[in-house]
């Protein structure tokens, strides 16, 4: 076999299939046009392809497929479908593709809301203490309960902010501990 033929033989199939790059097709075509054996090789490839195609298509054409779709649909009704993991993945992917913008926007809003809440309740907010819950803590820390001896009566004074509550025990000698 000539060197050019050796190079041509593996490319005859792709040439026949229309899968050769333009630059290869040009020289393969030229060579096969001039070289009788390579021209015949190409013809044999085409003849084999046509013979196989005709044989299979003809055999398949005689098959009765009229009830195949019904049979498939009947089986499909009984089919449990893909595993849940596959279903979930597919659902997630579809949701993402269909509502990508909405999901991103909602996520952003949720993140912003979380940040806002953290900022509001954080004790480090601003230069010192925050106001809301910290005020309650402050109030608690300013509340005092003092046991008082009213001589004949035991008693106590509760001081909380601006409020003062005084207990006097008419009977007992002292404030219950």
């Amino acid at each position: 076999m000539k060197r050019r033929c050796e190079e041509t033989v593996p490319l005859l199939g792709p040439w026949l299939d229309g899968a050769l790059a333009d630059e290869d097709r040009a020289w393969v075509e030229e060579h096969a046009g001039e070289c009788d054996p390579c021209g015949q090789r190409k013809a044999l490839l085409a003849a084999t392809r046509d013979a196989v195609r005709e044989s299979i298509v003809r055999r398949a054409a005689s098959a009765d497929l009229s009830r195949l779709a019904d049979a498939v649909l009947a089986r499909v009704k009984e089919d449990r479908g893909p595993p849940n993991v596959v279903r979930l993945r597919v659902w997630g992917a579809e949701m993402w593709h269909a509502h990508r913008a909405g999901i991103v926007a909602a996520g952003g809003l949720a993140a912003a809301a979380c940040l806002a809440i953290v900022a509001l309740v954080s004790p480090l907010r601003g230069s010192g203490r925050s106001q809301g819950p910290t005020l309650l803590a402050d109030a608690r820390s300013l509340t005092t309960l003092e046991q008082i001896d009213f001589e004949n009566h035991a008693g106590a004074v509760l001081q909380s902010g601006d409020t003062t509550v005084i207990w006097i025990d008419d009977e007992g000698p002292a404030v219950p501990q």
């Binding site: 033989v9 044999l44 003849a47 596959v86």
Partner: protein
């Protein structure tokens, strides 16, 4: 190159695959039925060529579409619907062959010398190959030749020669690289030619004649 994707012809108002797939995914049974009816013959052709038994080919065709329905939600549309369907069908054919004990024949790449020998050109007696193809003896020979191929060689040959898949579609349908497509197809064709040469060409020219 003849591709597997065949949109409706001009003037044909039947929906294309994309809209049928979309509707079938939403549970539209009629859309799914339309897909089955559109491609059942071609899937059957592939299965028949692969397993060579009409009943088994019918079972594989049916199973192919059941699986298509089952996994339709995961079809991403990276390839055509039919290439994707072919991949399912091909895998089922290969599984079936293995179950029946027709285990994969070892695919040995032929040496250059063997390739050269097989690529001996036929004589000019190729005239009228179509006429020869009608010959009953040739049909039997084609069947034998296909049967002698490994499952992988048979699959790629049928997908290319009968179904006309492009090399890219073959790569997707068979899950192999494009380079492997070209190599595997080349060897599959060589083997077929070796079997069919005497029916498609009268005699073989001597290499030295060149």
């Amino acid at each position: 190159m003849r591709g597997a994707r065949r949109p409706p012809a001009p003037g044909d108002d039947s929906p294309d695959d994309t809209s049928l797939v979309r509707n079938a995914r939403r549970g539209d049974a009629q859309a799914f039925r339309a897909l089955v009816e559109r491609y059942q013959r071609r899937v059957y052709q592939l299965a028949l060529g692969m397993v060579r038994d009409p009943d088994e080919a019918m079972d594989i065709t049916q199973e192919t579409f059941v699986r298509v329905h089952r996994y339709l939600p995961s079809f991403k549309g990276d390839s055509s619907f039919f290439t994707w369907t072919y991949r399912i069908a091909t895998n089922l054919c290969l599984d079936s062959a293995r179950r029946r004990g027709r285990s994969e024949r070892v695919e040995m790449d032929e040496s250059d010398a063997e390739i050269e020998a097989h690529m001996d050109p036929p004589s000019a007696a190729l005239a009228g190959p179509q006429k020869a193809a009608l010959n009953a003896e040739l049909k039997a020979k084609i069947d034998d030749a296909l049967a002698s191929l490994s499952e992988n060689h048979r699959a790629i040959l049928l997908l290319r020669e009968v179904e006309g898949l492009s090399y890219e579609e073959l790569a997707r349908a068979l899950g192999i690289r494009k380079g492997t497509v070209m190599s595997r197809l080349f060897h599959a064709r060589l083997k077929m030619q070796r079997k069919l040469r005497e029916y498609l060409g009268d005699e073989v020219k001597d290499e030295d004649e060149e």
